[in-house]
C-alpha cells in the first residue's frame, strides 16, 4: 500500500520542476564547489571544467588527454596504474547516473537549458533539425571523441608536437565559457604562440560564440556534438540506471518524441528495443513524463522501476487532470 502510494507520487511528479532544482543544485556544486573546497576529483563524466578556477570537480577529458599523450613506455609502465585508476573512477561515476549526468548534472548542459528558458520567456519558438540534418550532425561527436583520444596518442608516439597538448580543450567551448561562471573572461582570446594553437583557440572562441547563438535557437545545441556524450554511450550498457521501453504498451503516438530536446525518433518509433537509450540521449526523462500510456516508458535502477510513464501523471503534468475554472469561454 505504502509502496504503491510512493510510486504513484513519483510517477505523478512535476518532472520539469524537480529537474530544475536538481540542475540548479548540481550547477552550484560543480561550478562553485571550489569556494568551499569541494572536489570530486578529476574523473567526472561531465564538463566540469577546471579552467573555471572554482570548479567542484574536473572533467575527465583533461587528465585523459594528458595521460594518453605520455610516451608509450610511461603510459604502459609507471603511469599505467594511475591511468587505470582514473578510467575506473570515471566508469564508477558514470555507472551510477548513466547519461543522466548530462540531463541533470553537467553545468554546461544546465547552462543550455537556462538559455532555452530565456528564449521561452522571450516568446521565441525553438528550432529543429530535419531528419536528414539530424543524422549527419549526430555523428560529429564521434569525430570530436576521436580528437580527444587520437591526437594525444599521436603526441605520445612523437608525430605531433607539444603545441597539440590538450587539443580538444583548446577547441572546447566549455574552456572559454566555464571560467565566466566565476567572473573570469580571460579565455575569450586567441593564443598566438604557435600556428596550431592559434587555429585551435580560434576554433574554440568561435565555437563558444556559436554555442550561445546555437543553444538559443536549438535546445541542447551543443550536446549533439559533445564527445563526452559519445564516450558515455560506449559504456552505457554498464550503468545501473536504465531507460527502458515496453513496446507492447506503446501506441507510437509520438508524444515522447515531441518533447525530446534531442529529437530522438526511436523513443517513439522503436517498439522492439527494451533498452531505448540512444547515443544522443541526455537522460532527461522528459519523454517518460510526456508519455500517456501506463508503463510504456520507464526508468529503472537495475530491474527496479523508479519512474514510469502513467496516464495520471501525464494528465497532471499537461494540466489535463481538471478543468481550469477561470476559462472564460
Amino acid at each position: 500500500m505504502m509502496k504503491n502510494k510512493i510510486r504513484r507520487m513519483i510517477n505523478n511528479m512535476p518532472l520539469n520542476k524537480v529537474r530544475f532544482w536538481i540542475q540548479l543544485s548540481m550547477f552550484v556544486l560543480f561550478a562553485y564547489g571550489g569556494y568551499v573546497l569541494i572536489d570530486f576529483g578529476s574523473s567526472i563524466p561531465i564538463f566540469a571544467c577546471p579552467y573555471n578556477s572554482e570548479t567542484g570537480a574536473t572533467c575527465y577529458f583533461m587528465p585523459l588527454q594528458h595521460q594518453l599523450a605520455m610516451p608509450a613506455n610511461v603510459l604502459f609502465g609507471a603511469a599505467a596504474i594511475s591511468v587505470l585508476v582514473g578510467l575506473l573512477t570515471f566508469v564508477a561515476w558514470f555507472v551510477v547516473l548513466n547519461k543522466a549526468w548530462c540531463g541533470y548534472a553537467c553545468p554546461f548542459g544546465t547552462l543550455q537549458d537556462w538559455i532555452t528558458a530565456l528564449r521561452k520567456k522571450l516568446g521565441i519558438r525553438y528550432g529543429t533539425y530535419s531528419q536528414a540534418q539530424f543524422e549527419k550532425l549526430s555523428k560529429i561527436k564521434y569525430i570530436f571523441l576521436a580528437i580527444v583520444i587520437v591526437i594525444p596518442l599521436l603526441m605520445g608516439v612523437g608525430v605531433l608536437g607539444r603545441e597539440w597538448s590538450g587539443a580538444f580543450c583548446q577547441i572546447c567551448p566549455a574552456r572559454v565559457i566555464s571560467p565566466m561562471f566565476s567572473g573570469d573572461f580571460s579565455q575569450w582570446k586567441i593564443d598566438f604562440s604557435t600556428v596550431t594553437s592559434m587555429i585551435l583557440t580560434t576554433i574554440g572562441v568561435l565555437f563558444a560564440a556559436v554555442f550561445f547563438v546555437g543553444s538559443f535557437i536549438k535546445k541542447r545545441f551543443f550536446c549533439f556534438f559533445c564527445p563526452m556524450s559519445a564516450l558515455h554511450y560506449t559504456m552505457s550498457d554498464l550503468s545501473l540506471l536504465k531507460l527502458r521501453k515496453d513496446g507492447d504498451k506503446c501506441t507510437k503516438c509520438g508524444d515522447c518524441y515531441k518533447v525530446c530536446d534531442m529529437q530522438i525518433k526511436d523513443i517513439a518509433d522503436d517498439v522492439i528495443s527494451t533498452n531505448i537509450l540512444r547515443d544522443d540521449c541526455m537522460f532527461c526523462m522528459k519523454c517518460v513524463a510526456a508519455c500517456p500510456e501506463d508503463d510504456a516508458l520507464h526508468v529503472d535502477i537495475l530491474n527496479m522501476r523508479v519512474f514510469s510513464s502513467s496516464k495520471e501523471g501525464f494528465a497532471k503534468r499537461m494540466g489535463m487532470d481538471r478543468l481550469e475554472k477561470n476559462d472564460d469561454r
Partner: protein, 425 residues
C-alpha cells in the same frame, strides 16, 4: 408522434424524420430496458439521443457548426476558434437508403448514410462548413459528392503512410493550413491562449474517458460496452461542457459501483474486445447482439470510440505553432485507421487491449463495402491466431434483415468462449 401527422400529407423530410425516430426509439428502448440496471447517470445520454434523434432538437443554434467527415479533423482547433465540431459519420438505415441512390451499390453503409443525410439537408444542427480529410477512397470521393449538394466542403490532405518523416511533415502542413482556413472562415484568430485552453479541455475530457475505461479492467465490470458507446458517440455532437459534466457524474457513479463490486454482466460472461468498422448510433447492432448474448464488451478499438480518446496531445513549450504541430502528430502518429499502408500498430493495439482488459476474445466487424477493414481482416486474424486469441470476424451492414444470422454466429462464438472459461476454472 405518428398521431399528429396522420391527417396532413407527410413531406419527405417528415417521413425521413419519422423513420429515423423509429430506428432511434427501437435502439434506445433496447439499451434502456433490456439490460439490468443501467447507471442512473446514463439517463443524460439516453435523453440526449432522444432529444436529438427523435425530436430533432438543435443543440448548437447559437454557434458556427463545423462538420467533419472523419476523426482526423482536430476538434481542439475548432473549439479554440469558437466553432462546434460535428462528426458527420452516420448510423441510420434511413439515410443509408437515401445515399444508396447516390453511391455505387457496394459502398460502405456508413458513407452512404452520411452522404444520404447530407443530400436530404435535413438536420437539427446543420453544418455551416465541412472539412473532409482524404482518408479512405469512399470518404475522399464523398466529399466531392457532398459539395454538389451545395455545402462548402474543404478537403484536408491526409497521408496514407504514417511511418515516414515526409508524411509527418505533410500532415503538419495540412493541419496548419486547416487552422488557417478555419480561422479565416470563422473570422477568429487562433491564439496561444484559446488553443491551450481548448487542448486542455479536450485533454480533460480524455482523462475522464480514460478513468472510466480503467474501471472496465476490473474483474467486476461496472459498465457495459453499449453505454460506453453512447458516451463516446455523444462526443460527436454534444455541447462539450454538458458532456463533461455528464461524464463527471457518470464517473462518480461508476467508481461507486466498482467499489461495491457491482458486475454489469453475468457470472461467466466472456469479456470481449470489439474492433473494426465503427458502431455509430443507432447502428449498435453487433454490440447489442454481443451484450444480449451474455458477453461484455470491455474495450474497443474503433474510430467512434477508443481511437477518438486514446491518444493525447503533449506539448513541450506552449507556443501556438508547437501546439498545432503537436495536435497534428496526435491525429496521425497514434492513429490505427486501416487506410494506412501497413498497420501493425492496430494489431499491437488490439493485443494490448486484450491483455490489459483481460479479454477472452475479439469480435471484428467490417461493414460490407468497407474495403479497408475487409482487407485488413486476414492479417489481424493471423496475428490473433499467433497470439492464441480467439477472434470472430463478421460482416454486416445497416439493413435490419440479417439480424438472425448474425445473432447465431455471435452466440456460437460467445458460447465457445464460455466453454473455455468453464474449462479454465
Amino acid at each position: 408522434m405518428t398521431d399528429n401527422i396522420k391527417h396532413t400529407i407527410e413531406t419527405p423530410k417528415q417521413k425521413q424524420n419519422r423513420h429515423k425516430a423509429m430506428e432511434a426509439v427501437k435502439v434506445l428502448n433496447m439499451i434502456k430496458e433490456e439490460f439490468k440496471e443501467p447507471p442512473k447517470a446514463m439517463n443524460y445520454f439516453y435523453d440526449l439521443f432522444e432529444r436529438v434523434y427523435c425530436k430533432q432538437e438543435p443543440l448548437h443554434a447559437d454557434k458556427v457548426k463545423v462538420g467533419t467527415m472523419c476523426i482526423q479533423i482536430p476538434s481542439e482547433i475548432i473549439y479554440a476558434l469558437d466553432g462546434v465540431p460535428l462528426r458527420l459519420c452516420n448510423g441510420f438505415y434511413t439515410d443509408d437508403e437515401i445515399g444508396s441512390d447516390l453511391m455505387p451499390s457496394k459502398s460502405c453503409p456508413l458513407v452512404k448514410a452520411t452522404v444520404g443525410h447530407l443530400a436530404s439537408g435535413n438536420f437539427s444542427d446543420k453544418p455551416d462548413i465541412i472539412f473532409s480529410p482524404t482518408t479512405c477512397d469512399q470518404k475522399t470521393k464523398a466529399g466531392a459528392i457532398v459539395e454538389n449538394f451545395g455545402y462548402e466542403v474543404m478537403d484536408v490532405d491526409f497521408p496514407r503512410t504514417k511511418e515516414s518523416e515526409e508524411s509527418r511533415e505533410y500532415w503538419r502542413r495540412s493541419v496548419r493550413k486547416f487552422s488557417h482556413d478555419l480561422s479565416h472562415s470563422l473570422g477568429k484568430k487562433l491564439t496561444k491562449k484559446n488553443l491551450q485552453a481548448s487542448i486542455q479541455k479536450i485533454g480533460y475530457a480524455q482523462t475522464l474517458y480514460h478513468k472510466l475505461n480503467d474501471l472496465r479492467k476490473n474483474r467486476f465490470v461496472p459498465i457495459l460496452g453499449k453505454d460506453m458507446l453512447m458516451v463516446t458517440n455523444a462526443f460527436f455532437f454534444d455541447r462539450i461542457d454538458n458532456w463533461i459534466t455528464a461524464v463527471e457524474e457518470l464517473l462518480e457513479e461508476i467508481e461507486q459501483r466498482a467499489k461495491n463490486q457491482l458486475h454489469a454482466g453475468g457470472k461467466i460472461s466472456p469479456r470481449i474486445v470489439y474492433t473494426g468498422s465503427p458502431p455509430i448510433f443507432p447502428n449498435y447492432k453487433i454490440p447489442l447482439i454481443i451484450e444480449q448474448s451474455d458477453a461484455i464488451i470491455v474495450a474497443d478499438e474503433t474510430c467512434s470510440s477508443n481511437r477518438m480518446f486514446n491518444d493525447r496531445v503533449s506539448v513541450d513549450e506552449w507556443f501556438l505553432n508547437d501546439m498545432v504541430d503537436s495536435i497534428a502528430d496526435k491525429y496521425l502518429k497514434g492513429c490505427t485507421c486501416p487506410i494506412f499502408t501497413k498497420n501493425n500498430d492496430r494489431i499491437r493495439r488490439i493485443i494490448d487491449l486484450v491483455k490489459s482488459y483481460h479479454a477472452d476474445g475479439v469480435i471484428y466487424q467490417a461493414f460490407a463495402g468497407c474495403q479497408v477493414y475487409e482487407m485488413e481482416q486476414r492479417s489481424v486474424l493471423a496475428a490473433m491466431e499467433k497470439e492464441g486469441i480467439a477472434i470472430l470476424y463478421i460482416e454486416s451492414d445497416y439493413s435490419p434483415s440479417q439480424q438472425g444470422q448474425l445473432t447465431t454466429r455471435v452466440e456460437a462464438f460467445i458460447e465457445s468462449l464460455k466453454n473455455r472459461r468453464r474449462m479454465k476454472r
